[in-house]
Symmetry: C2
Subunit: 239 residues, 2 copies
DNA sequence: GAGTGGTCTAGACCACGGT
DNA sequence: CCGTGGTCTAGACCACTCC
């Protein structure tokens, strides 16, 4: 019996064959039934291995057509957008939060579109600053859809940031992130204690609960000190 | 029998319960066996649903301890780093490639460390420019580990960019991306036809084949026109 | 129409990790 | 120790899609 063949074994074996050149790009690899026979395991095990490889972008699968090698074509990466307090404290710095603005307004056009609102519904407009030690780290400009999150109307956001508050109060089902670079505006520069036109790294996030848009936020970071990292490990055995 | 319960049904149901507040943050939800009984399906089906939810960061699983709700804590997003030609052509623009520099050198320190080289091994240093129509779109500065990719020594890279060439020639098992914002250096500004200190969006990528580092590349984009997007859909039914 | 992946099931054994 | 998740199996039926 000698221990079963695991789905990890199969992934390693298949990536190995691709790597060795046995299965060049665009090759249609053998079907699940045949692989199961070759490798001496159940089809379900092969299926799990191939499903994960497809998920990682190594192969592409289509019914009837089979499984095709596309390794490397789809450069997809998984990034973690850090929770600000966690990130700052992980770096060993003291985290401080400051509310700069809090105002209930009728949604005008750029915001109305982003929150997907029909009429001039009320939204909560917030501006906050997050510090790492004494240095400003992130400027947060946020709009919250009050129709979706009525409880936000009574929350002062003086002790707790809207990010953490929303995480606690409101589950979410869906998120969109847009990352870009920009030159600091006068306003951003003065808030972040940098020079005007210094580079800033901007993350814009929209979140939904079902079909309802909850919030839109622009997170502005000092470009010189901020990075997003991703590492996709295949966890292959050494050979 | 009324059609089986699918793992998707289970995911929807569980996210629904979390959303409705039945299972607040940090709740330990029922075990697989019990859920299978409740929902009328096999344990394997529940397992698949929970495994995927864990993968998406909605819950956290530990043997013996059970499955805990952590929804929203881990903001992870999947982004696709576009293949430059595809991206430009998808936008309806003409793609043009230009080689600006090609040189074989002994790896000095910043590069040696990035490529994880032991001694002063030879590396291929390249600089290329990618155009969308007439406008420079991306400046590519790349080093290739010649020990790992000897064939690159004989490739002129005049007709084909190193990105596309490497994708064809060399599989990869692992990739790391670092994204940041910066102010254009004089060199970058002149290459990209922008002003010095204009914001640039920088993606740095390292790739590996097994334990061997293949290449390190810095991709510099005009900040005002470049974005990375991600959208994590939960694909829940409307309710 | 027929072949391939997509999924469910029922049962089994294993491995990790709280107690 | 022993409960929980982690995985494998063997078999079955279904759904998509290419021919």
């Amino acid at each position: 019996m000698s221990g079963s063949v695991t789905y990890m074994d199969i992934k390693t074996e298949i990536v190995g064959r691709i790597r060795r050149g046995d299965w060049p790009l665009d090759t249609i690899i053998p079907g699940e039934v045949e692989l199961a026979a070759q490798l001496g395991c159940a089809r379900a095990t092969v299926n799990r291995a191939l499903r994960e490889l497809a998920d990682e972008g190594v192969v592409e699968r289509r019914r009837k057509a089979g499984t095709r090698v596309v390794a490397g074509q789809n450069r997809s990466a998984r990034i973690d957008i850090p929770v600000i307090r966690t990130q700052i404290e992980a770096a060993g710095a003291h985290y401080r939060y400051e509310l700069r603005k809090r105002k209930i307004v009728a949604a005008r056009d750029p915001i109305r579109a982003r929150l997907d609102l029909q009429s001039d519904q009320e939204v909560l407009s917030l501006e906050c600053l997050h510090f790492a030690g004494d240095a400003p780290y992130q400027l947060e400009v946020r709009w919250i859809n009050l129709a979706a999150v009525p409880a936000a109307r009574d929350e002062p956001f003086e002790q707790i940031g809207p990010n953490e508050w929303l995480l606690r109060e409101k589950p979410l089902t869906d998120a969109e992130h847009v990352m870009s670079a920009g030159n600091a505006t006068k306003h951003q520069a003065s808030a972040l204690h940098i020079e005007e036109r210094d580079a800033v790294f901007i993350v814009e996030r929209r979140t939904w609960l079902g079909a309802e848009t909850i919030t839109w936020v622009r997170l502005v970071h000092v470009g010189a000190t901020f990075q997003l990292r991703s590492r996709n490990l295949q966890q292959l055995e050494t050979d």
